[in-house]
């Protein structure tokens, strides 16, 4: 009974998944378990985020390990085909056919998502365009839309057919603050009742949206837990001072003129409440190889943080 509940809760499961591109290892024995809600995927450039998302989106096949996505095995043709009917994927910087109108493109994506009934497809295209706030611009050609609008067209394409699993690869890149806020609203809404995996460099997005965060670095999972637990990694390691602390791993002058330092605080330092950004920086930069446990796998858990 407990096992069944766990299986229902687990929407995405990876067990020792590895991906290589020639001699380069993109993912190294990644094991993950994701449930419903929005999960943030953080990591520096080249960490393997896009490879992980492409693997989950069935765009590429792992060399080793096993996957279970929505209870399906994407490594088999039938499993992959069934999964494609239930997922939405927004790749990083997706190109769009510029001579299509937004509506025509979404309608076309509807066909590719096997919505064969014309009326149902039209209704769905109008729904998703309304959901991303493009109703008024649906008749405009994509080449005449702003960058933010195009990003929203891409998101609309991803959510056609109301997929159970939504994979978004850096959807807020290049957006202005207002557009990012709109995107957060959108994604937060989409995360209700479905599984959303969101890759981003923006720790604020993770803090604002995600109930879970995974940090990937050099193809390995360095952390998985809640955003609060990621921040907790830096508890007692962030302090404020009038001067840049010489031993700090990272330090910067804040808007109020004091320095925010991360590292091993000196005695009597004025400790401040850490953010997930602090935890993230500390996790990646704190000890060079990032393996603060010294257990070799570099994967930090909330228990480690505590």
């Amino acid at each position: 009974m407990e096992s069944e509940e766990r299986s229902a809760a687990q929407q995405v499961g990876l067990d020792r998944v590895g991906v290589r591109y020639g001699r380069r290892t993109a993912l190294r024995e990644v094991s993950l378990s994701l449930g419903r809600g929005v999960t943030g995927l953080l990591g520096p450039n080249g960490a393997g985020k896009t490879t992980l998302l492409r693997t989950l989106a069935t765009a590429s096949t792992p060399d080793t390990g096993t996957l279970s996505v929505l209870g399906l095995d994407p490594l088999t043709p039938t499993g992959r085909q069934a999964l494609r009917r239930r997922l939405g994927y927004l790749p990083q910087n997706p190109g769009l056919p510029s001579h299509f109108t937004a509506y025509d493109f979404i309608d076309y994506v509807g066909i590719l998502k096997e919505i064969s009934d014309r009326q149902a497809r039209r209704t769905e295209a109008r729904r998703v365009l309304a959901e991303v706030g493009l109703t008024a611009d649906r008749g405009r050609r994509i080449r005449k839309l702003s960058g933010g609008m195009r990003q929203r067209v891409g998101l609309a394409a991803a959510i056609v057919g109301d997929p159970e699993l939504l994979i978004l690869d850096e959807p807020t890149v290049g957006l202005d603050p207002e557009q990012r806020l709109r995107f957060r609203e959108l994604i937060a809404g989409l995360g209700e009742g479905r599984t959303v995996l969101l890759s981003t460099h923006q720790t604020e997005d993770v803090a604002a949206l995600c109930h879970k965060v995974v940090v990937l670095d050099h193809g390995t999972v360095r952390f998985q837990g809640t955003p609060a637990e990621l921040a907790l990694l830096a508890r007692g390691r962030v302090w404020s001072s009038g001067e840049r602390a010489p031993g700090a791993l990272a330090a910067w002058r804040t808007g109020v003129g004091t320095f925010r330092n991360i590292g091993v605080p000196p005695t009597g330092a004025s400790l401040v409440e850490p953010t997930i950004e602090d935890g993230y920086l500390l996790l990646l930069d704190g000890d060079g190889d990032g393996d603060r446990n010294g257990d070799g796998d570099g994967d930090r858990t909330p228990a480690d943080a505590a």
Partner: protein, 512 residues
């Protein structure tokens, strides 16, 4: 179902694609220009030739279809949308199937254009013959093939430059066929014939139209299967079908080059030597017109010429009956029977069919610069026959018309219709030192020297009735080739060039 929905969308886009629209507009513009420049009455379509002429111009829509389907099938890749679209549920092979299906509507448009074009030709009052349905289907199939080639190409290389390269390749194939490159005539989409070849009765033609259509269909099938296999279609049945279609393409491709069958060669020889056995005749006034049955309607066009000539001849000199017989001479076509015209056999054939001394007319007709000698050549030959008078049937004919006789014959021929007058002017512009009028691809030619041509051109600028009256009043002198050109000109009311007599010296004038 989704593939069908996609095919609907892609079909609509294929028809609206700028490449296809431009191609169709070009096609229409070419057709309009052709119709405008020739005019309705300037066209003398032979429908068993017109059917294949529809194919060459359809290469324009074929190019449009190839570019259009290729760009459609590479669209997502070219716009960088592939990462987004590749994980969508509709399998790639079914998307490819939809793109292939989108090649059908352009082919249907091509079929409509073909139908309109052949209908236009067939409804011309001067049309003769009957089109071959197989030849008519070939053009639209070429458009379908081109559309499928665009999709197949996209599945091998998503580059947008592949389409234009394929078009160049297609152009090279057609050019090779048109230039008669050895073994290339039927490899390309259209087997191009020599534009100088005279039309043939449909039953004597040797074009492997059906085999070529099967070859094109097999190549289309090969392209379809290659595209599907490349897109991940179920390999086993598709591969088996591919092998079968490749074999079909190879076999039909080779069979197209089958030499002229013996029975057809025998029928051609018989039609060439004894045309009367296969012809029907129509009597109009003093003239009996005999032609291969499908060309018999052409008698009306011939009659306009003969009436125009006979109307200017004194009544007493119209010593008919006259006969006109359509003849073939295939030596110039490369697949003929005789090296020289079988004049003796023709004379016997005429005697047997009670049309002694019948004037020869070919299967071509018109006044254009390519086939254009036909109408004027026939007019000159018929005028010569009328001027010769009775008792000359079957007499050997020379190749040069001289002095007054040349002036009379050429004027009678040229004034017969406005087209013959224009044809002489056109021929004169393209000739040097006189004109030569050929019948049956130079097998029988009559020449007229420059001074006589100058006199006739002057006469054509004068009122026809006035010249006609002068001709009638001086008929004996003007039909006698001992009468000088200068005197003939004076009798007809114009002056001859200074060197008129010198030009005829030393020439072998047609024996009369």
């Amino acid at each position: 179902m989704s593939a069908r929905a996609m095919a609907r969308v892609e079909s609509a886009r294929a028809l609206r694609h700028p490449a296809f629209l431009v191609a169709v507009l070009l096609y229409a513009a070419l057709w309009a220009y052709e119709a405008w420049s020739e005019g309705w009455s300037g066209q003398y379509p032979v429908l068993q030739d017109e059917d294949r002429y529809t194919q060459v111009t359809l290469l324009l829509p074929a190019v449009g279809a190839l570019i259009g389907t290729n760009l459609a099938a590479t669209r997502m890749h070219r716009h960088g949308a592939q990462p987004l679209c590749e994980v969508l549920a509709l399998p790639l092979w079914r998307r490819t199937l939809a793109h292939l299906a989108a090649a059908v509507p352009p082919a249907l448009v091509a079929a409509v254009l073909t139908g309109a074009r052949i209908l236009y030709a067939a409804t011309a009052p001067t049309a003769v013959g009957s089109p071959s349905p197989v030849e008519l289907v070939t053009g639209p199939v070429v458009v379908l093939l081109a559309g499928c080639a665009g999709v197949a190409l996209a599945r091998f290389t998503p580059s947008a430059t592949a389409g234009p390269f394929a078009v160049l390749f297609l152009g090279a194939l057609v050019l090779s066929s048109a230039l008669g490159a050895r073994g290339m005539k039927w490899v390309g989409p259209v087997g191009v014939e020599s534009e100088f070849a005279a039309p043939l009765p449909a039953g004597l033609m040797h074009r492997p139209a059906l085999t070529h259509l099967a070859y094109l269909a097999a190549v289309t099938g090969v392209l379809v299967l290659l595209a599907l296999l490349r897109s991940g279609a179920r390999p086993l049945p598709a591969r088996a079908a591919l092998v079968l279609l490749v074999a079909t393409a190879v076999v039909t491709g080779a069979v197209q080059y089958r030499p002229l069958p013996d029975d057809l060669a025998a029928r051609r020889a018989d039609a060439e030597r004894h045309p009367g056995d296969r012809q029907r005749c129509r009597v109009a006034g003093q003239v009996t017109f005999c032609a291969f049955p499908e060309f018999l309607n052409r008698a009306e066009d011939w009659r306009r010429v003969t009436d125009g000539i006979l109307g200017r001849v004194p009544a007493a000199e119209r010593t008919g009956p006259y006969a006109v017989r359509q003849r073939l001479f295939l030596a110039g076509g490369g697949e003929g029977v005789s090296a020289t015209p079988p004049l003796q056999a023709w004379a016997q054939d005429d005697t047997r069919h009670r049309t002694p001394g019948a004037v020869t007319v070919g299967t071509g007709w018109g006044t254009d610069d390519i086939g254009g000698g036909e109408m004027l050549s026939f007019a000159v030959r018929f005028a010569d026959r009328v001027v010769s008078g009775p008792g000359r049937e079957g007499a050997p004919t020379g190749s040069m018309l001289c002095r007054a006789r040349a002036v009379t014959v050429l004027w009678l021929a040229a004034q017969a219709t406005p087209e013959t007058a224009d044809a002489l002017r056109s021929l004169d512009r393209r000739s040097f030192g006189g004109v030569t009028l050929t019948t049956l691809e130079s097998s029988q030619a009559l020449s007229v020297s420059d001074p006589e041509v100058r006199v006739v051109l002057d006469l054509l600028d004068r009122p026809t009735a006035e010249v006609g009256d002068r001709l009638k009043s001086s008929w004996p002198a003007l039909t006698d080739d001992r009468t000088s050109t200068e005197r003939a000109a004076r009798l007809l009311g114009v002056s001859a060039p200074a060197n008129a007599e010198q030009a005829s010296e030393g020439t072998l004038c047609a024996a009369r």
